[in-house]
């Protein structure tokens, strides 16, 4: 019985190392883009050449400077009320940044706290939080947001609250899952033996361990929230006019689209796209970097 077992080496089908290595490279360009947008948002008052909310009706629909009829006075042209597009884009960055960050943080805090409570306390708290989460996740986020916006009426801060109310469920679900496995770990048991109260354990031992996931999720949610804000503004239930928001500009731009006033659509669209793309790239990188277990998030 000396049948030698032939060993066949299959060519490796998966080469995750190269993929991960490339992906964990620091996303420099997205960070620069987000940095520039943040800078613009903060210093909008100094950067904008014109008042974003006031235009002159004699200067309507001016094209960007390189097209015939355009001038350096309005570098990226003017809209249907003669307002300067560049200035509106610059102030629009502020709206996107403020709504995006505050809504993500608001949703994150609510979701993380409820996720920890549900996961650690279990019992009826868990049931209550998770049933609400399940039911709310069943509604398409945008439809839910439209419904809430129709009730409370449009304003920038209402949008923040609405988006927070819609998106906290995503955090709650992920955080609860993490807490369920964390609470079986040695260090939590030791803390219980040492006589820590439930609150102390949740605050001092559980929370620091779920913060990473929450941050990764927050970065990934930033893009989602910005698109949601733009969609709401586009539909007329978001940031009310004449405030400059990118989604609102796209909605206004529709009027001029059919006659070829492309700059009213393309510029705000590119701004949204760049910001969302950058947030997603940064989120992807953070996910690999901070939280290797959560790659399937």
């Amino acid at each position: 019985m000396s049948t030698s077992i032939e060993t066949i080496t299959l060519p490796p089908q998966l080469t995750p190392t190269t993929a991960t290595a490339r992906r964990s490279d620091f996303p420099l360009i997205p960070v620069i883009i987000l940095g520039v947008i943040a800078f613009t948002a903060v210093f909008a008052n100094f950067l904008a050449p014109h008042n974003p909310e006031v235009g002159s009706l004699t200067a309507r629909f001016h094209p960007p400077f390189w097209q015939q009829g355009g001038s350096m006075e309005h570098v990226l042209g003017t809209d249907q009320l003669g307002r300067d597009v560049l200035s509106r884009l610059i102030f629009g960055a502020r709206v996107s940044m403020v709504v995006g960050f505050t809504a993500v943080i608001f949703a994150g805090v609510v979701g993380t706290v409820l996720g920890i409570l549900a996961g650690y306390l279990g019992g009826w708290v868990d049931q209550l939080v998770m049933r609400i989460t399940d039911a709310w996740l069943a509604l398409p986020a945008l439809t839910f947001a439209i419904f809430l916006a129709a009730i409370v009426g449009p304003s920038m801060w209402n949008i923040v609250i609405i988006l927070g109310a819609v998106y906290w469920t995503r955090y709650a679900r992920v955080v609860r899952g993490e807490v369920l496995s964390l609470k079986e770990r040695e260090f939590v048991r030791l803390a219980i033996v040492a006589g820590c109260s439930k609150w102390t354990i949740m605050r001092r031992h559980i929370l620091p361990n779920v913060v990473n996931s929450a941050i990764v999720l927050a970065t990934l949610m930033l893009g989602v929230v910005i698109v949601a804000e733009a969609s709401l503004s586009f539909l007329g239930v978001g940031v009310p006019p004449p405030q400059p928001a990118w989604g609102l500009m796209l909605s206004d731009g529709k009027q001029g689209l059919m006659v070829g006033y492309w700059w009213l659509t393309i510029f705000p669209g590119i701004c949204i796209m760049l910001m969302v793309l950058s947030a997603n790239l940064l989120g992807d990188w953070l996910r690999v970097k901070l939280d290797p277990q959560l790659r399937q998030l």
Binding site: I8, L10, Q13, L14, T15, P16, T18, A19, R131, I132, D134, A135, W136, A138, L139, P140, L142, T143, F144, I146, F147, L148, A149, A150, I151, V152, G223, V227, A230, S231, F234, L235, G236, V237, L250, G253, K254, L257, M258, V259, G260, W262, T265, I266, G269, I272, M273, V276, L277, N280, L281
Partner: protein
Amino acid sequence: MKQFITRRLGYSLLSLLVLSLTIFFFVRVTGDPASLLVEPGASEADIAAIHQKFGLDKPLWIQYALFMWSLFHGDLGQSFYYQTPVFELYLDRLPQSLLLALVAMGFSLIVGIPSGILAAVNVGRFWDSFGKMFTLLGLSLPSFFVGLVLILLFTVYLGWLPSSGAGGPLHLIMPAFALGWYFAAAHMRMTRSSMLEVLGSEYVKLARLKGLPQVLVIGKHAFKNALIPVLTLAGINLVLMINVAVVVETVFAWPGIGRLLYEGISFRDFPVVQGVVIMGGTMIIAVNLLVDVVYAVIDPRIRLEK
């Protein structure tokens, strides 16, 4: 089996209950619901009539019972603008939404599945990176921007396609593309990961050991199994497409449910908004239940899981 379905059904009913409570609660917590339920500029008497009709002067739990009672009878209220029951409006618009969703789904599968397979077979190489870029773009580009750019290109500059409304097949192309774009990316990602999982399994290794050519391994052995999760996702997404098309339908003036929701917002027609939300949530909960049950029937392992 029976136990599984009962439990799953129970969860769905619970979700529906929570959903109805949420909607009921939000409408009432933000002030007098009568102000939402009457037409803008209604008289005192109209408001009093609404209070009477919906029993807004009664205790909350009776109000909720009344609310649920009319829901069970398919009564979603009366539209202010159209002066017809919301439920009828919804059913009128449903076929158009379904048509758009089906075409968009077809498009997203035709793009998503082959590119997903291509990416899975070439992990870490050109097609995979290309696919990754494509997914990222698909998930990052808001559909209304895609739609507006399409109009600019194909209607304004080239004059090939009509920009709005429903009619011939030409009207479908741009809205279906704008709607399917995001889902194509999602389907591609799903195909890729599902394919990778199957390719790592024992029976595919065996097929390779037998010396089968790559085409047969992929096409005959791996593909069929990898397709199951993708088609499940597609089924859920079809229902989702009907309910998230509001932006795309607004851009292209497509007369579907999304457009109905948009009209509801613009005309301050609150019963319409509420009706669309209720119907959407119910449909999605129902399809999730259906998927779970079908999976349990096919795969006994799921049934036994807690």
